[in-house]
């Protein structure tokens, strides 16, 4: 599974993306965040303002409760500030 980080999440994790295989019990986007937070202090910092973090599963906006089973790509980012 490809995990993508944008904006200040990318700066905290120190990477734009990583390829990971989460444990089988990590079935939702919210559970994936819990799992990622344990990977490094940078990951923990990235997800600190957790309520403001937006999620996309396979390039579609998603909620923390949405399933990531079978997803190829999960992205985490701040609220968008385009144009």
């Amino acid at each position: 599974m490809k995990i993508l980080y944008f904006a200040w999440l990318r700066q905290h994790t120190g990477m734009a993306e990583e390829i990971l295989e989460p444990a089988p019990q990590v079935a939702t986007a919210g559970a994936l965040i819990d799992w990622l937070i344990d990977r490094s202090p940078g990951h923990a910092a990235a997800f600190e303002q957790r309520s403001s973090i937006r999620i996309a599963i396979d390039q579609a906006f998603a909620d923390p409760g949405d399933s990531i089973v079978g997803a190829a790509e999960v992205a985490f980012f701040p609220p968008v500030t385009g144009g």
Partner: protein, 155 residues
């Protein structure tokens, strides 16, 4: 009907000429160009030296295409163009272009405003501003969300 996400600049005149060339059915061409500003939206904040727009390649194009399809179901558009740039911009640099063509002006205006509200609030872009005292990620603006909400209340 075209969506482009690119680093290069764009030419408003050339794009609208291309869209209207040879047509006899277009009565209204509404367009919008968004430009990087030196003035910070927050009152009293420092001047912006430069701004970098980061985006989510793939998802951005997909969302802009969906927004365009949505606009076409809401208004009778004859054609439509969205160009959004990414990268680093200085004040005065053009960032985003939306052009809508219709028989009548109201449809062209409304679709253009709708697409701009969508770009500001839904498309996966993030703005990073440099000022004399440092750089920061720009926070989402409540007024932008309110502007976008106009289009959902309607239905």
């Amino acid at each position: 009907m075209t969506v482009r996400v690119q680093a290069e600049s764009f030419d408003l005149g050339a794009e609208t000429d291309r869209l209207t060339a040879g047509r006899r059915d277009v009565g209204a061409v509404a367009s919008f160009v968004g430009i990087a500003r030196e003035t910070n939206p927050d009152e009293g904040a420092e001047p912006v030296i430069a701004m970098t727009l980061e985006h989510y390649p793939g998802m951005t194009e997909r969302m802009l295409a969906a927004a365009e399809a949505d606009a076409r179901t809401r208004w009778p558009l004859l054609d439509c163009l969205i160009v959004h740039r990414y990268g680093r911009f200085l004040p005065g640099d053009p960032i985003v272009l939306v052009v809508t063509l219709s028989s009548h002006r109201q449809a062209a205006f409304d679709a253009c405003a709708f697409l701009m509200d969508y770009l500001k609030t839904q498309a996966p872009f993030w703005k990073h501003e440099e000022t004399a005292s440092g750089a920061r990620w720009v926070a989402a603006r409540a007024t932008d969300d309110a502007a976008a909400a106009r289009w959902t209340k309607k239905d």
